[in-house]
Subunit: 462 residues, 2 copies
């Protein structure tokens, strides 16, 4: 370890109280972006964090948008070194239901919590104020110890992440040159347990399709027409009932053609995690997996595609009965995709599969907003190797190369708008109660998070 | 033919103009039972027809109910002869959309219509004022010619048939002794063509079941849980998709156990009818039957049971997409039943069939209002034989023993409340446009209808 890094880490350890005081000040601002009454507080949070970035030594400014402002900061003092763009968000979820909070949501406090030691309790402690401050504290320590950052750093902090990010795409588009870096660092994800670092390296993609089946030209009386008349609900259930086989596999031809199996090493790492499948299922009222047979839950969620029926409707759905044969029945499906699956190809194959099963006298219409492919980062790329080494050094164990079952819109936006890959490192835990009452962030997540970023910046410079 | 009957028929032929004038007066009263603003008109129609019954020689009265009144009349002057209860209804459907009527709906007129000769055009012409007046004119002719009716006759005219008959069951219940006869005569059905008489001898029964499948204990995010988590829409489609086989047969064990094949004679009679399957299907936008393979449309509708999905709902059904795995999905089904099928047995078998297919971690709840069995009259009973002979004599050809795909609540009510069978004879045609603009009733339906009833009364007395 370089002498510089050693002093930076010492500095972080010596200034934890001051760092916590700053975080608490930040957490006291109820920057709830989804609530117009709290928009002044969002602007106050943006101003506060811009001031803090300027204190650190960045050139930081609050930048207006049509919604809540962005905070953008730059420190480009290392010519020839890589340039990273750090992303976080300063807005928070609404705290309701308030009566379930043990103490007021915007009065942060430290508490002892069994199994976690000291935890920071407040709305936004983990999502995302605590997380983003780990990076700022790392930068502060570097600047105060060496006068510089190891690499060129830009910071982009958003104030609408919890309300759909309406201003993000236009802002990225309008400031492409300024914001495009060699790599994005995103701190809004988590770890599989409190002792093991993690990098989220795979995100599933998504494609949607609505299937609308029409049979008779109008709703019919089931007494007068029942028997001869084709029923579109029967057709829809008959076709969709064939979408999965008994092993839970999707029956669309070619659906798995581009799906790569994860490496044996990756599978072994996931299998070694202390992931409690029974507890995961038990929490949602289930006992067994309904996914592809013979695969672990983590493997299913992180590395396997799905065809999911999100909604279905047809005929009479009010109270009591109505003896109708409806003219139309429809279903909404989404496909979770994994790396190398082409959304358009999957949607086309699905449409063809439906059409081939359509009986005489029925027609089908499709509606789709299209899809976005999955993200899979190269586990052996230079920057990934740097991050893996840095995290392993801090935590004393190799980071888990996690997957994420859903998509993370910011990663997609950086990729499509700025052509930039992302490195997703976060220190949150599944039991942080984000979006729920008594949200917490482990004190060790905060302190070791800052130390982790200090190390990652050093490794990226190497 | 008896001398009496001959004179009665002559009388009917000689008084057609007067009969039509009475019908037109009746048709001018807009007795729309579903519209509270027209309830005074309903009472006016009841009073008019009660007066007319008294004119004929019945002892007739308007009888109050909680809704629109009943008209009840009696003429019991033939001790030792059978006692029949004639049923019809004096209320009509709303005429809307008014702009599609060629002339105002309550200004009855005669018109020439290609293929039908003269037709009576007005709301209620066929359903049911024109039909019920055929019986009253037959009685009038008998009374005026012979001073008596051939059998003992009671008349029950309802004013809420088009609005769910809420007062009917309580009225039957409260007046059981007065209304129970040897046989009910119902004139609210039709013929297969304008030249062939018909008796409706089979009505399908009905049983309903709602199936509610629950998987996870709450709605889930399809990214976080998609793969392992069971999806109740998938379960529902997978099970209901197996309800019919490729031949269109219902797969519930025992479903067809009690279903008798119709007789060869019956099948031959139906096959000989001039029923245009292509036109029937074409009218509802279809080209082929989706029912049990190898059976004619009439056979399917009149003599075969069905399992029909009337409604299905689950998950997100609004605009766009929502990546949800819902906790619950449900479907509403009704079964059309044929004679000898037991509704409870069918519903039980269906429940068991669902339960046997339910995967781990799912639960199912059922809701049902129960069912009513099909009705099948004995084609060789004394009264049926009498009616067949009477109709054959009037029309010069044997009556078709028709089925009806739906149920007729009044027949069910007479059976269950009064323990009385019904004889369903009507002269309506499929193209009478009942419930639609420009409703019509062929003049020959009216005149030969009255003559038919005159003959039926004579045969029942024989």
């Amino acid at each position: 370890m370089s002498e510089h890094l050693e002093r930076v880490l010492e500095r972080l350890d010596e200034t934890t109280d001051a760092a916590l005081a700053r975080l608490f000040t930040f957490l006291k601002i109820p920057s709830i972006s989804t609530d117009p009454e709290h928009h002044p507080e969002c602007r106050r949070a943006a101003a506060w964090v811009a001031d803090d970035l300027n204190d650190i030594g960045f050139d930081a400014r609050v930048r207006p948008t049509d919604g809540q402002p962005m905070v953008v900061a730059h420190d480009h003092s290392q010519p020839g070194k890589p340039h990273v763009l750090f992303y976080g968000h300063y807005d928070v979820q609404p705290p309701e239901p308030l009566e379930l909070w043990e103490t007021p949501p915007f009065e942060p406090r430290l508490a002892d919590e069994e199994g976690h030691g000291q935890v920071i309790i407040a709305r936004g402690a983990a999502d995302d104020k605590g997380q983003l401050m780990t990076f700022l504290e790392a930068c502060r320590a570097w600047k105060s110890v060496t006068g510089n950052l190891p690499v060129n750093v830009s910071v982009l902090l958003e104030g609408e992440e919890e309300s759909g990010s309406p201003s993000l795409a236009p802002f990225l588009d309008a400031n492409k040159d300024e914001l495009t870096a060699d790599l994005a660092l995103v701190c809004d994800t988590g770890q599989t347990d409190a002792k093991t670092p993690a990098i989220t390296t795979r995100l599933r993609g998504l494609a949607d399709m609505e299937v609308i089946i029409t049979g008779p030209n109008r709703d019919l009386h089931s007494g007068m027409f029942g028997g001869p008349a084709v029923n579109p609900i029967r057709v829809l259930t008959s076709i969709l009932g064939q979408l999965h086989n008994d092993e839970g596999r999707v029956e669309i031809p070619g659906f798995y053609d581009d799906v790569a199996e994860i490496s044996a090493e990756q599978r072994a790492q996931w299998a070694a995690l202390d992931f409690d499948e029974a507890a995961f299922l038990g929490d949602i009222g289930l006992k067994s997996s309904a996914g592809e047979a013979g695969r672990s839950l983590l493997e299913l969620i992180w590395s396997r595609p799905t065809a999911e029926m999100n909604g279905i409707i047809g005929g009479y759905t009010g109270p009591g009965t109505k003896t109708v044969i409806p003219s139309v029945a429809s279903a909404k499906l989404t496909f979770r995709l994994v790396p190398d699956q082409d959304p358009d190809k999957i949607l086309s194959a699905f449409k063809q599969w439906i059409e081939e099963r359509l009986p005489a006298d029925c027609s089908v219409a499709f509606k789709s907003r299209g899809g976005s492919p999955a993200v899979g980062f190269d586990l052996d790329g230079t920057e990934m190797q740097a991050a893996r080494a840095a995290l392993a050094a801090e935590w004393g164990r190799a980071p888990v190369m996690m997957g994420c079952g859903g998509s993370i819109p910011i990663v997609e936006a950086f990729k499509t708008t700025l052509g930039m890959e992302s490195l997703l490192i976060g220190f949150g835990l599944d039991d942080d109660r984000i979006h729920s009452p008594n949200e917490k962030y482990n004190l060790t997540s905060f302190t070791k998070g800052a130390r982790s970023w200090a190390r990652v910046l050093a490794e990226l410079a190497a």
